[in-house]
Amino acid sequence: MMKLLKSRAPGHYGVKADYNDYFSHKYENAARWLVSSFQRNNSEGSSAWKSRLYHPFRAWSRAYPETSGYIIPTLYDYVQFRESEQKTKDIHQIIEKTVTWLLSIQMPSGSFPAGHYVGNNHYYLQSRDYFLRRTHEATESSFNSGQILLGLVRHFQETGDQRCLVAINRCADFLGSSIQPDGVWTKDSYANASSPSYFTHVSWPLLEAWRVTKNHSHKTKAILSLDRVMTKVDRRTSFISNMGFRGSDSASTHTIGYCLFGLLQSSRMLAPEGSTYEKAAVSALDRLFRISEVAKKMPGGFSSGWKPDWAYTCVTGDMQLALCFLVLFDSSGDLRFLNSACRLYSRIADAQEVDGSFYGSIPPWGKYMAFRKPSWVVKYFLDATLHLWRSLELEKATEL
């Protein structure tokens, strides 16, 4: 008891003084869990989530093409971080097998399918399909295609795999063809024609594809969609409407994170042209920064005019926003953004389970992915860990 009393009260001084061990432990633990999400499927994709409630015996869900795709860059980052170690061989094998699997399920249109892969070109599209054992034939998904593009582009950049280049071209052509002249995405089985604002996270992969394919129409189409999102920015509050699932105004920080990160990355890729996208993202992030700093935590979601929902914390959203703040810190050098990222990170890192995973929400029964441990939470946690760790190390090395 006396030891407790004598320790510095607000968890402030001396704690985590050497953060290398702290980050290393968190990072390794999370990476191990993420790798196991692939191993459960014989390395053909990563399971979407783990939950004994939804899947009492198997625990793991089926492989999820969307997240398997965008986890590939995270795995490459991990491999590069652990460069010298033997165990990265396994990771290379996982990436290779996953890419091969993804290419095998690409649809004739160039799109990648929605849902969790069951086998024989059939998918579970909703959580209740697991209980009803109801499968669906492959359906086109613009959003999922965009996320998978991120993985394929990275794999192509790392290996020069020509199969990937063909797939990237086909997928980017599909995405280009699914945008109407007014910037609305039409071919998405989940969002239908609502074209939510978080589809900026499809425009950005399309720009990544443009860098590889050098096809100017891919860039033009991405800009068309980004410009449409710009019309949804409220100039007074900086709130971007339709950021939620299916274009709703009530959004979790997960889709807000998608929207803002998509804008920031698109702006970076289009520089100096895309400065308006960055401005919109920075204004929105400035609002989020103040709300979270004053309250000492980030709400799980927001509705119109940044009305917060304090009932839960969206874990993946916090990590995505931490990444956004880190991008802002990189571009502005403003240490307050680094601090904000640290605060979001510290809170989530403390909620890491012993096996390295995270529940979708805090508390676990919160609105987002209740009682499930999604693989993309771990992906964003790994991305945030590495970015934050590097930023702190760079800052440490900077002379006054």
Partner: protein
């Protein structure tokens, strides 16, 4: 001219030592206003700020007597002993001995606190702690509320100003300014002084030293205000940034920068 001393925490040494020093200099306040530390309102506010676990730890340390040798207050205690001030730390007893009126409120911004101040008509106030001050409360003072801010103004406003100053390569400084509106540390500045730092200093020791400097500078500011010779310099909102509580992951960098700053200062 009469002034009011405002503080929140009933246990730390700051208000008691301020009163001892003010008595010595014959510039005592006309009354003190104490915000109850464990009121439901404050507990709600503190739970949000510190989190449940840290708040519980604080409350436990509040009810235990011993002062941690490494705490920020030990510098204040050392200075008080050097000045030969009385050892009494119970503010209620000090007020009784000095015949000072003592008001206890749940929050500074409650209507009862504002009504009380409107009746009493203090010329100005000295603020040690107690939360954000609202317009209605500030309007009760003709010459505003004096506050010692442990950071360089106008550049570093808000929380953990010492840490933020140091990490930005600015020397740790105490600035006395006047709180005139709800803006955080945006009021006109009266006096400022750079804290002397040594090679062996850590953020914790600098924080401790800044508490001593805050007391002496507040007393100096009160003297100037009472003598009618206070001359303020305005600051514009865009001249500085507002900072929030620094995360513990950034503290090792702040410590490193402090070491570097002390080396630079020693070379100078």
């Amino acid at each position: 001219m009469k002034y009011l001393l405002i503080f929140a925490d009933g246990k730390n040494s700051l208000p008691a030592i301020y009163l001892h020093a003010a008595a010595e200099m014959k510039i005592l306040p006309a009354a003190i206003m104490q915000v109850a530390f464990l009121s439901p309102h404050r507990i709600r506010e503190l739970t949000r700020t510190w989190g449940r676990a840290n708040l519980a730890k604080r409350i436990l340390s509040f009810i235990t007597p011993a002062l941690d040798a490494g705490s920020e207050d030990c510098y204040l205690e050392k200075w008080s002993a050097e000045q030969g001030f009385a050892k009494e730390r119970n503010v209620a007893k000090i007020c009784k001995r000095l015949s000072l009126r003592r008001f206890s409120v749940v929050s500074l911004n409650t209507p009862s606190a504002v009504n009380l101040l409107s009746r009493e008509r203090f010329d100005f106030a000295v603020y040690l702690s107690g939360g954000i001050l609202r317009e209605k409360f500030l309007a009760c003072f003709k010459h505003g509320v004096l506050n010692a801010h442990a950071g360089v103004l106008p550049q570093i406003r808000g929380m953990n100003a010492i840490e933020w100053s140091v990490i930005q390569g600015l020397p740790p400084t105490v600035t006395v300014h006047k709180i005139v509106d709800e803006g955080i540390d945006t009021g006109p500045m009266l006096i400022h002084e750079i804290l002397p730092i040594e090679k062996s200093d850590t953020i914790l020791t600098v924080r401790g030293k800044s508490r001593v400097l805050s007391v002496t500078m507040l007393l100096r500011a009160v003297q100037l205000q009472l003598a009618g010779s206070a001359s303020y310099t305005d600051q514009r909102p865009e001249e500085g940034k507002q900072y929030f509580v620094m995360d513990q992951l950034l503290l090792p960098i702040a410590e490193l920068r402090l070491k570097r700053l002390s080396q630079i200062r020693l070379c100078e």
